[in-house]
Symmetry: C2
Subunit: 600 residues, 2 copies
């Protein structure tokens, strides 16, 4: 039985090494001092801190959400203690250069470390995760001075960070933001506006908070082309890096959420007194591009965060199903026979397998996408280019498919526990509530679907999709070499072909000017292509498991047998759905499109 | 725009009269004094009380859940006031005879009245709904003395009731209950045991609580054949009907739930002091059959309760989508153009239509099943027999399909509201949480699926299914007479045939002894047959709408156009899924069945 509530380490190692070969990254100069041993040590450390410092207050955070007292945010003390332990162990600097005091870990390994914290406590990990996102953006686009004054203190765990995009009237529509920036004679900027849904927007965990804020410079072009990016520190930072006066950023309110209650969600007002100091990042009007650098990694982070909530629920319900004894087989008519463990009931195994294929499939996809981020450091330009293209294509799938299906997994975990699952004495209902935000934030899943079909699948004449299809074809060849997997390889090839046909039809419709109708089925496209991608990853796992099975024994043998069976389950019960969803895209299903508002 | 947050009255009238012809029940002697006018007056009254007394404290109940203080349950006062208003208006006696002070309403009309209360506040309506269930059971199986002493005070709104089935170790497995009953020399009984998950198990709303408790008489046969049913009053009731001493029933604890927090959920102990007085209902060892009389109506009630939460979320998100302006069409490149109402976005309409087809489809099914309950009073024996058969078949679908798909609807309502939907400032997240219990209680949906495939579809050589198929064929003929609906009629006939083929294959497998494998796909069978049934009801609605459209004008025209478009949407996006799920049943999909516990 898996001994941890946070991870199945056997499966994590399988994904990282047997499937993805993450240790090959150590051939890159940047990771030359790393090895499977140092990765393993980081994972062990993350697991220990997550178990000891993050998990114990997960329910307490839910029951004692942040309060606004005298204009400040009050958190339960365990949050600060956990973040401190995380920073002390160096995880705030997991990605940073050795020179900056960092661990210089690959992105994929840092994601795997964070998986432990996410599974243990998604509310608490939000604070350092957002800070790291801000520091990554500054590492890429900040001036040396901005890096020294804002990025370095984040890496050291002293400062935190946020992303400020949404406004109350425009959650998803950034073209309509109203926050404005006025240049000053001394080259500095003053900001005025209000930002909504700002996670970790105010708290006393560190010395300062670095808000990365989208705003429009006075007189800028309308729409997203007129958006710039600014650093707005909660406390101003002097030239020498010392902390200056309180900046004109005010906590105007808290949002009271269904879940993720531990991570404070704020409404912030900038420049109410006309004195909100800001620094421009990069060039004027290019802010959205910079923010998307951060957003893309955050979207992988959101997808992974969702998956880890799915995993936490899966592991809990699996253990429950192994221990809880109730009922008998339908052909067992003797009422004096002992009740069986509920995992003996086929429908319970169905619910467990559904969770397994969703969660382990999406988890592997998240690590694969993270590995593609690391490939930006590959010496071979074609690898860098291809990896970037694939990453662009897969990111909306990581985010949307991952969060949609992990949420379904959480729902199934509740169902397995029955009445107990509906109570707050068990963790699975909180898993669901905490996870419910993930299909919404960092771009709703509807927007991810539009991005996937309208941009990513079409870009460079479908270059990213072609790359993906070549990889799928390769997997079909490799898996097909194992006779038991031959029918599955054939099935995947057919499903992939259906997705391609749907893409072509949608593309032709868009080219002919029917953009709205083509994109009306974007969510069906997400399901179709997402299922193809997850089916591909399951077939990869099955091929590796099949090859390893002959020489495996004991727990390993069971592990590989489980991978094979889960692949068969996905191909029997999920992959056939591609046909339906791809057909709706291909045929331009129009009933929702043609429905009129007044007919409801 | 629909003016009520609780109901779409135009649609309710459409279902009750245009589709189901509920007013034809007035031809039965029992309902001879009723008319569409009296039904309408009852519905208006229910709507008014629901709006004024139930809706306003729905969130307050969620935020201030019942507390156990000095061994008693404390509720917020608004619950008592709402229940009082409900009783004062006569709804506790909606079904009861005129002689007993009742309204003598048909079951289907009483359900429609209750729909207003369920949509407004599912926690508060639970108290009178359970009381009514208990009084219905006693009306059927109680002695005249039991009716006088226990049923009559419920009808008068003075007593409440519960169903006590589950025990902590055996939620779904009634064969394993341990509560025991010992006969006394004077013919009375003493009970000992513990019951879990008892809704409304203790409170001070009325003078007394009538617990209907499943227990085993000492020496009874093992399993469900040894279960008897007992009345256990919280306060003993003297022969003259006056209230006697406190009985030996103790509130041992409260369950703290994810949702439905207003309805107290209790852990009760019976006979800790050896003095729990009980009265046998009916014959010894026949208790489960009596309870299932109540359970079947409760299962319709649970399905309807779920649907009404789905409806509340749908109506709210519809209004939100009509009012909230954000974003532009994908081919609108001018960022200075005004944002559109989000209902203009095709994917939002898709999410609204999905809610509409799930909720209105399941709601109509619930009313149809309720009408079949009323057909027990039909003078024609063949109508009574057929209606009973159909009711038996449809009840698990009402419960399981209704709760599964209404929950999906609630999830979509949250998604439409975006970040706001995730906050407790808006009602849709509570709708979801309140609804999450419905796939679990009154028999989990997995158990409903086993009941559907293993018993109901097979009973009397498939007689119920044959009846259903004859009705579906009739609808296909009627709808097919309208040329625009002809392809839909053909599609439904094909889908129904697939469900029948799957049923035959599963039956053959069971007859051959492969019971476990055949039933391993019961949940897929529920989806397949459920979709066929809902598709059938949508086609019925479409045929009526198509016929009415030509002469309709104004809002009516929009209403019928919406019904037709929703039917097309269901047939395009949902009904095709029957093929997949039916095939899994037909082919005896075995991957979950063959998965071994140690492989997870």
């Amino acid at each position: 039985m898996n001994p941890s509530p946070l991870t199945n380490r056997r499966n994590l190692d399988f994904m990282l090494y047997e499937v993805l070969g993450v240790d090959r990254l150590c051939a890159y100069p940047r990771f030359a001092e790393h090895s499977r041993d140092t990765f393993g040590a980081a994972l062990d450390l993350a697991h220990q801190i997550a178990l000891e410092k993050f998990l114990p207050h997960n329910r307490k955070s839910d029951l004692n959400e942040p309060q606004m007292v005298d204009g400040k945010v009050e958190l339960i003390p365990e949050i600060g203690e956990a973040v401190q332990a995380y920073n002390d162990a160096g995880f705030a600097a997991a990605l940073a250069d050795y020179d900056a005091g960092g661990m210089q870990l690959p992105f994929v390994v840092a994601q795997a470390c964070d998986s432990m914290f996410s599974a243990a406590n998604p509310g608490t990990i939000a604070y350092p995760a957002l800070a790291r996102g801000a520091s990554n953006l500054l590492a890429e686009y900040g001036t040396p001075d901005q890096k020294r004054r804002y990025m370095q203190p984040i890496i050291e765990g002293r400062y935190f960070g946020t992303m400020c995009l949404s406004e109350p009237h425009a959650g998803s529509s950034l073209a309509d933001i109203r926050t404005t920036a006025e240049p000053q004679a001394d080259g500095s900027w003053r900001l005025t506006g209000a930002k909504m849904w700002i996670s970790a927007g105010d708290h006393e965990l560190g010395e300062n908070i670095v808000h990365l804020v989208l705003a429009k410079i006075v007189g800028a072009p309308a729409g997203v082309r007129g958006i710039s990016l600014f650093i707005v520190p909660r406390w101003r930072v002097n030239a020498d890096g010392s902390r200056g006066e309180r900046n004109d950023v005010r906590l105007a309110g808290l949002n009271h959420k269904m879940g993720q209650r531990g991570s404070v969600n704020t409404f912030l007002k900038f420049g109410e007194s006309g004195d909100c100091h800001a620094e421009l990042v990069g060039e004027p009007h290019h802010g959205l591009g910079y923010m998307f650098h951060m957003m893309n990694e955050e979207r992988i982070g959101v997808g992974m965060g969702a998956v880890l909530q799915g995993l936490a629920g899966y592991l809990y319900s699996l253990q429950y199903a192994q221990e809880r004894r109730q009922g008998r087989h339908p052909d067992q008519k003797d009422p004096t026979s002992p009740p069986v463990a509920i995992i003996e009931h086929a429908d319970v195994r169905r619910m467990l397998l559904q969770q397994k294929v969703y969660v382990e499939g999406a988890e592997l996809l998240g690590y694969y996408a993270s590995l593609l981020v690391d490939h930006a450091r590959d010496p071979d330009e074609s690898v860098r280019r291809d990896s970037h293209l694939l990453l662009e294509l897969l990111t909306p799938i990581v985010k949307a498919w991952g969060s949609d299906y992990s949420l379904k997994a959480n729902e199934l975990a509740i169902q397995i526990l029955g009445g107990y699952g509906f109570t707050r004495e068990y963790p699975v209902e909180q898993n669901y509530r905490d996870n419910r935000i993930n299909p919404i934030h960092e771009g709703t899943n509807g927007i991810q679907a539009l991005d996937l079909l309208g941009r990513k699948a079409m870009m460079q004449d479908g270059a990213a999709l072609k790359l993906l299809m070549a990889k799928i074809a390769q997997t079909c060849i490799e898996a097909g070499a194992h006779p038991p997997l031959m029918p599955l390889a054939d099935q995947l090839a057919v499903a992939a072909k259906l997705a391609i046909d749907a893409t072509r039809a949608a593309g032709a419709r868009m080219a002919a000017g029917d953009v709205r109708l083509a994109l009306a089925n974007a969510t069906h496209y997400m399901t179709a292509l997402g299922h193809v991608v997850i089916g591909w990853l399951w077939l990869q796992q099955a091929a590796i498991a099949q090859a390893a099975l002959a020489d495996a024994s004991g727990d390993d043998r069971d592990f590989y047998a489980g991978k094979l069976q889960a692949c068969r389950f996905f191909f029997a019960t999920e992959l056939p759905l591609v046909e339906h969803h791809a057909r709706l895209v291909r045929d331009g299903e129009a009933s929702a499109f043609e429905m009129r508002p007044e007919w409801f």
